[in-house]
Amino acid sequence: MTAQPDDATLLDIHQRMTRIRIFETEAGKLMEDGKIPGALHLYVGQEAVAAGVMAHLSNADWITSTHRGHGHLIAKGGEFGRMFAELFGRSDGYCKGKGGSMHISNMELGMLGANGIVGAGPPIAVGAAFSCRFKQTRNVAVTFFGDGASNEGSFHEAANMAALYKLPIVFVCENNGYGEYTPQANHQAVVDVADRAPGYGMPGAVVDGMDAVAVYEAAGVALERARDGAGPTLLECKTYRFFDHVGVRGMGLSYRTDEELAEWQQRDPIVLFEQRLAELGVLDPGAALAVREAVAAQVQAGIEFAEASPMPDPAVLLDDVYA
């Protein structure tokens, strides 16, 4: 697992990233067209993180996600149709329309939900990791969270418990430099969230979150450690979101400079990855285009599926509160 990715894995990562990118871009448009109600937090720009980590996981491994959760679910195997249906609030959505973007989830895929509460994922993932060990499997839990979330007490408590119990879990901090409209320098005095790892007695690592191979490799090390019973790792991926905090253009605040955005876009994780695949001779530009087209068609099919899905019957309102 700590090895470099083989060709099949590279193509797999590419597929996952492309799926996220096109889904999210379309979702953004649909939102701007008024077709997606509520709040939509898009993952564009951060694809290398979800793809690089999830390439190591099976459905029996668990993840917890964030308010920015579509990318994680797609990388974990989420189907476009059921996802769009959820974003639209339709009855064929993964949550029957009851959850929406912020709670999209699928237990069969091992995806314990996007979450509207910043910092809610880590403690839940600790529980999932405990489960994996309790059942004497080699399965793991991975918890994704942002730089902003790393300041919630819940992260602290979860990290301490994970290290104490040597649980099979990886803490993946997606440091995109902002918590909403607040730059990292205005929410924590440290530059690397990974610096918090030693305080819990776990290893920490910083990796280029725009480089899917780097993420893949670092996640491989951390996951192997976790599966081997050696305990958690805090893996910080430096990344950037290309859209605004919420939606595509957000509230129109100017809290990031155009230059900063442009600089990061220079390092678009998919462009970088495709260049690399071309250099390696694994996927030439034409083949990459074919992948994109195929995915785009799937996305369109997903949208159609979702649009055809009925709105939930008001009679189901009080269902699913209790088992």
Partner: protein, 334 residues
């Protein structure tokens, strides 16, 4: 906000602008007041109601915090106990759970536990309510938790006028006051005087006079109740609508006086009906006006589920004028 001279002393403002103006006046009049919370400074809050304040008052008086609700409230408690007058922002009322210990065990009790030696002039602004398809974790009305805690005051303004006046009153009060705003009301307009004025905490407002039915409500449901009252008028029911404005202390006298006149009452809130403040109010009414009641006190509130995401479901979930009318008809046997 630089519209100085030309503006009349009373003009139409939105709820969001009224909040903004209130906080601005508080910062201007109290040199020890400051605003702290997530995205309150640079962004002026995700709801926009602190817009311009960072620029006007500078970063020591208006500042962003990390995403650390317990820390934020703790900052408020510590700063207040040591002589400042914090205005603390918890972005969504749904996040109360993250800081409920600070609120319950420190903010509400410190004065009492210290035998009266500590004074905590904290104003805590937060945002409640459903209706924007924000699903289960961004749509709640959890005021019942807060009203059960001795040591806190709790207000929930329904109009721009009350938003401004209650925030100013809260900030001038020497006790911790939670001001729960409503997100669907942000664009509501209403007349708001320019001056700094107080809406007294603990005084309800009779927003519609009526003779034979009392609707007790607060926050956005005031508007739904007023609409329901109009519909009821067509059915020959002349409803009085009481906007509580303050939930703690509760203006029971105004409620009871109305019920003694109308002989019928109902409580309406957006919060989940079971265990909501409506129970307390209904219990008080039947306790103190038992012989005046010609019918049971009704209650309208959200049904017993989390807030659903899907717009259709959410619509059937949130209380509204139609449901108020239906419940009134049921109570009146009409």
């Amino acid at each position: 906000m630089a519209e100085a001279e030309a503006v009349p002393a009373v003009r139409e403002l939105t709820y969001v602008r009224a909040i903004n103006e209130a906080v601005r006046l508080v910062l201007a009049e109290q040199s020890t007041a400051f605003v702290a919370g997530e995205d309150v400074a640079g962004a002026g809050s995700v709801f926009g109601y602190y817009a311009g304040l960072l620029k006007e008052f500078g970063p020591e008086r208006v500042f962003d915090t990390p995403i650390s609700e317990e820390g934020i409230v703790g900052l408020g408690v510590g700063a207040a106990a040591t002589g400042l007058r914090p205005v603390i922002d918890i972005m969504f009322m749904d996040f109360m759970g993250e800081c409920m210990d600070e609120i319950t065990n420190q903010m509400a009790k410190m004065r009492y536990m210290f035998g009266g030696a500590a004074t905590l002039p904290i104003t805590l602004l937060t945002m409640s309510g459903a209706g924007m398809n924000m699903a289960a974790q961004h749509s709640q009305s959890l005021e019942a938790w807060l009203c059960h805690l001795p040591g806190l005051k709790v207000v929930m303004p329904a109009t721009p006028y009350d938003a401004k006046g209650l925030i100013i009153a809260a900030a001038r009060d020497d006790n911790p006051v939670i001001v729960a705003l409503n997100k669907m009301s942000l664009r509501f307009k209403g007349e708001v005087p320019e001056a700094a004025y107080e809406v007294p905490i603990g005084a309800a407002n009779i927003v519609r006079r009526g003779e034979n039915f009392t609707i007790v409500t607060y926050s956005r449901m005031v508007h739904e109740a007023l609409q329901a009252a109009q519909e009821l008028a067509e059915l020959g029911v002349d409803a009085e609508v009481i906007d509580l404005r303050s939930l703690q202390p509760l203006d029971s006298e105004t409620v009871l006086a109305s019920v003694r006149k109308t002989h019928r009452a109902m409580v309406v809130h957006e919060a989940v009906r079971f265990g909501g403040l409506g129970g307390e109010i209904a219990a008080q009414i039947q306790e103190h006006a038992f012989d005046d009641l010609d019918a049971p006190v009704g209650r309208v509130g959200a049904p017993f589920s989390p807030v659903p995401f899907s717009p259709q479901l959410e619509k059937s979930y949130v209380p509204n004028a139609a449901k108020i009318v239906a419940e009134a008809r049921r109570l009146l046997g009409a």
